[in-house]
Symmetry: C2
């Protein structure tokens, strides 16, 4: 898969993590890129999130570089703002960019002071090793409890030439929809204006990152940046914009699915499809309530076709629907028809639920056209093991 | 502890559970009791919940008997309504009560038809063994995944004599606030009107069952009934009403705490105290968000003083507060002052968090007077084990 033109990446170990594993990544666009971003809606916001907002305002949405560290969230610390600014300034100096065109993002433990010295010392080496081919290395460096790096790619050919989209993301816990969950960086070489980019991000985040939940918790650091540097030279015609948006959405949905599949302790990606609701929003709320139910998620972990819990979770969504007109299928096997049990082979379905890909379909019969797709993971003892001992 | 006068209890095994353990309980008031009740707010409501509402309406809030079964929720079944009505009718016949003065409640698996025959066959024996001293036996019969029966008692002496309050409850999973979570039956022998009782229930449920969360899931069958049969002969004077309400609240808070302590897989009761919020409601929302965070609850399971997760969970409550004026203490040890780390001995605090009673205090400094107390439990691998295999 070809990467978008005009972007360079690098990664290094700057001593932020205790284990010697890359913990600092740099993404640079040769031409300053138009950018749009969404951030956590948590009331407690990390220093780099606040600095990102300010820089995007001051630069009128132009981004030259993003510096990302793992191992420390730079949140709820005395020196957070000074540190975030210091590392952005140092990166701007090394890369000869206006400081407002440098964003930073951090992920890791909250409440521990982040030491800027080693990051600043690592910057010249990081800049010297920038290379288009270091994309995967950068995706690896931003991981925390992630087991695998998460990347996705798409390409679409416009009248004026091909444009490419690539994304990297991290996150496997503290994942909840309704925010730019986790860290995500999506690059395209299409020629797009800031206005086009912001509208595109709003719609694509709604059907990808906002349809994702691992544990219902939301981080203080969530950041998703979409950049378009125009390096392909191809400006989409008006009727082609939807194709570019589709490529961006494809990358973002793929990244969101990758996060759900790598959810802490997860063994299964669970896709929830709701149809027949009164609106897409109502469908999304029903799907989210099912995705957030620990009882549904433990049943999936146990390959138990316990549809009563699914119906019950839907009932908790705060959405009006008629249980007596509701059908539920698991792995395309109907288990509940009109709100009561449908006959099915328990043993056969248990086997099918052993798959690493499980699908829950909830269909409300009637005139409603609202539909939504939502991703989560199963809920296993591994989640508890990881989180009962993450910090110490 | 003396039980309220004028109530009789019994329990038996009616073959609803697979294991031979009492699964049918009967609570009878010799004099028809004034009653108030709250029910689940789930959109999917079990047949007995709907029947309870109807009977309370028809009887103008008078209750003579409550029949409770465990092992089957009588929810999302073809025959649910007919079965609920049939067993209420049979009980009314045996007890010589108008059918509208008989309530029923069910708990257990959803979506499996409840067979009324064996329940109806058990009723004459159940009625014959009614006795004030069978209170604990009834409390045991309504258990599902509960490890211990849950009862609480209070007494207060009024000018016209002593009045007593006794409560029993069940529940250890699918527990979430904002509803009459789980099954609960609270009896008093005070002389109280339906109007007084309803006002009292509204306020006391708000500070007990609505301040409780085990897993954020809400059942289809949640039912809490408060009854006053007047058998003490003591009608509280106007200025004494608050004392009776306090006794009721004491019983209900004790029951709510017992549910949290017995949360599925739980090893610790976690009490969350929020002070300094803009209102009691804002404080309750902050406390609820902390109580519902799997990351906070796994940290408590691991005795890990990870206050960053607590601050982060508070930030997700949708409530305005200033993190920079927020202090957090665990087991009365200050771990976060003004939104940043306070010095504390990690090792000593880890030891203190090993206690079966953990307290999280979040104090916002300023003019706010809003406060709330909330109960939950730690989140362990046991929860997953229990719920990955409950049904099958």
């Amino acid at each position: 898969m070809k990467l978008p033109l005009g972007y360079l990446y690098s990664a290094t170990y700057a001593g932020i993590r205790q284990v010697e594993k890359d913990d600092l990544a740099l993404i640079v666009s040769g031409l300053p890129a138009a950018a749009a971003a969404v951030f956590t809606q948590n009331r407690v916001q990390a220093a780099p999130v606040e600095l990102c907002r300010r820089h995007l305002r001051v630069s009128h949405g132009l981004v030259g570089a993003i510096l990302v560290n793992a191992g420390n969230a730079n949140c709820a610390t005395r020196t957070g703002h000074a540190v975030a600014l210091a590392i952005c300034k140092a990166a701007a100096r090394v890369l000869r960019l206006p400081v407002s065109q440098v964003l930073s993002a951090s992920t890791g433990v909250i409440g521990v002071e982040l030491e800027p010295k080693e990051i600043i010392r690592a910057l010249p080496g990081l800049a010297a090793s920038l290379h288009p081919g270091r994309f995967e290395a950068a995706a690896r460096a931003i991981m925390t409890t992630d087991l695998v790096p998460k990347t996705a790619f798409a390409e679409t050919v416009l009248r004026r030439g091909a444009v490419r989209v690539a994304g990297m993301t991290k996150g496997s816990g503290m994942i909840h929809p309704q925010m730019a969950t986790t860290l995500g960086f999506v690059m395209t070489d299409a020629v797009l204006s800031g206005v086009e980019l912001r509208a595109m991000l709003k719609r694509t985040v709604e059907r990808s990152y906002n349809r994702l939940s691992v544990d219902g918790d939301t981080s203080t650091n969530d950041t998703l940046v979409l950049m378009a540097n125009g390096a392909s030279g191809a400006r989409p015609e008006k009727r082609e914009l939807a194709r570019v948006e589709e490529a961006v959405a494809e990358v973002m949905e793929s990244l969101a699915r990758a996060i759900a599949r790598d959810g802490e302790g997860a063994r299964k990606l669970v896709t929830i499809v709701v149809t027949g609701a009164s609106s897409d929003d109502a469908a999304a709320r029903l799907a989210r309530s099912i995705a957030n139910s620990p009882l549904v998620k433990t049943a999936i972990a146990g390959s138990d076709p316990n549809w009563g819990r699914i119906l019950c979770a839907a009932g908790n969504a705060g959405v009006a629907f008629d249980p007596a007109r509701t059908d539920i299928a698991l792995q395309n096997v109907m288990v509940c028809r009109g709100g009561v049990a449908a006959p099915f082979s328990e043993e056969a379905l248990k086997g099918k639920l052993g798959s690493p890909d499980c699908e829950i379909q909830l269909a409300i019969r009637g005139k409603g056209k609202g539909a939504a797709r939502f991703w989560t993971c199963d809920f296993t003892e591994g989640y508890i093991r990881i989180n009962a001992s993450y910090r110490t």
